[in-house]
């Protein structure tokens, strides 16, 4: 699409899977920031009630979270590619 000034409108869009992943990541960060401002020093609701997440110790969890992020990326890619028009 063009106008008289020569402005050009592209047709490409980012992959839906990337939109989902970035959206989820940004939403999580916003939630954590706002929660820490509103309820400083308090545990997260529900999530911290689980013993597993209440006592995550050791660096391995950073790596496992990275792998979980990757696995969900694959699942998100499958779902969005299958449902893409």
């Amino acid at each position: 699409m063009t106008n008289d000034d020569g402005f050009l409108q592209g047709e490409n869009e980012p992959a839906a899977s990337k939109v989902v992943i970035v959206g989820a990541l940004v939403s999580s960060l916003i939630f954590m920031v706002i929660y820490s401002i509103l309820y400083p020093g308090q545990d997260y609701p529900v999530l911290s009630d689980f013993e597993t997440f209440g006592s995550l110790t050791g660096g391995i969890w950073f790596f496992i979270l990275g792998a979980v992020f990757g696995i969900f990326s694959i699942i998100a890619t499958m779902i969005t590619e299958v449902t893409r028009e």
Partner: protein
Amino acid sequence: MSEILTTLAVFWLSALIFYVLVHRGLWIFSDVARTMGMFMLEKALGPGIDLVEGRSGSAARAWIMQSVLWMMIGALFTFEGMWLAHDPTALHSLSAWGYDPTAETLAATGKAVTAFGGITMALIGCGLHIIPKLLGTGLASERNGNLVSFLYSGGIFVTLIGSHDPVILGLKVLVIGTAIHVLAITAIVINQLLTLANRADSIPMPAWLILLGLMAESFNLIAAISTGAIDDGNGQWLMYRLQGSGFFFLSLAGIVLYASSVGSGNALWSRTLVGATLLGGLFTLNPFGANHGNLVADLFGLDAGELAMSTNDTVIVTFLMALASVPVIAFVANAMLTIRDSSSPGTAGMAEINLGLLAMIPVFVGSLFVQTDAVSGTNAISGLSWTIEEMSRWAVLVPLSLGSVLVLYPSITGRQLASQDRARTAFWLMGAAVLLGLMLSLTSSAIDMALLDAGVEDPSSLSHELSVAASVIFYFAVVAMILHCLNMVSGLFRGEIVGEDTEVSSSIEADTYNLASATSVSRILASGAGMDTMVVPVGESDEKGSATDL
């Protein structure tokens, strides 16, 4: 006659009978067997067979896609096993959910999932594509091949659970996983044999490698069960070796040699070396893998026997393992010379194949030391066995099988990978993980072993730091496999359709091609020539040149 030799004799005899039957058929029973086979593969399954599609290539595609997913999960469990080896309580918080893994259970799970899930599915998937191509026919039943891939994956999932908890509600979980594995492999064997029966051409050597590799598991079971070798430690160790020499090595060699030719655009370098690989793979014992047969005992729900060989048996198996250097060197040399001067060196997967070939001989030598140390009962370097075993899996088998999958991906799926750059990034990550990470692990094990020999009880801080670094670096393999998965899944939907780019490039064709020396047709085509290009032989002269007269 020793049990080892008897078992080997039955194994070799089974291979010989199979070879004769392929050429001579089943006499008057051939047609009946073919009809019965097709009935079992499709109609006998009732409406279940309609759950999957039967388009050409769909079976191979289902197997290779699931293979990469299992490789990723295998890498993750192997990483966790490496981490818990130096930090045993790292996953303690998961006990709140009833899951309390140890370094041993995680390492065993990683081993089983990578070998039986990732590598085996890649080999079978590529075989389902290659055998029909080489025989000039279609796969006997695409639908059955497709459906069985999900059954097989179910078996791997059961094995994954069984590796953590071998007995649930009184049931031996690993035995159930093995039963599903055998059922799925039987279906694949019947499918491939029916494909073989429909062949239009003679059987090329790489097809023999793949077929005998696939059949080797059956020969192994027949030999070990008929001689009773499956019940004791020596026989279990031998079964492990025969599975490595037979299924893994022969199948891998056939697939890699085919992929090397396809990916490089060059003809397979030597048929004689393929023959040496085939005969050597069958008649020797491959030393790759664990230095005991406990895995076999676990998979069949038996008590693990102790490895205690007589002097004669030790000499026999040591000789056969050393002799395995012949097929290994023949295979590596053939594949390397095939991919040399490739017309398309940037093809995804070729780098992985190169890495696996480069690592194969050093890892073979290391494995040979570890195995001879174990069978002789010396156990002086048994502390290195775990790392050497992981090297044979992650530096040799995974790169070679994954590389072949990536090379054949466009032919199998009809589309290119989503991103060549992502494939290249994943290769570098995996290369660093398996070479640097496992080398650090080997160094750490060597330090521990030396301290143990010297009677030092305090653990070494350097060894601990090296094992931490090794596990962190091995994590790159997990990331690499995630990238490969994403690349292959995206490629199925948005990868460039194979053939489109060929049409574009063919619009610029050279009218003539000057042929100065012997070359392959693929190189002439790669230089921009088309089917109508005139190939003009030009003479060469050794006369000294001089200035042109004006």
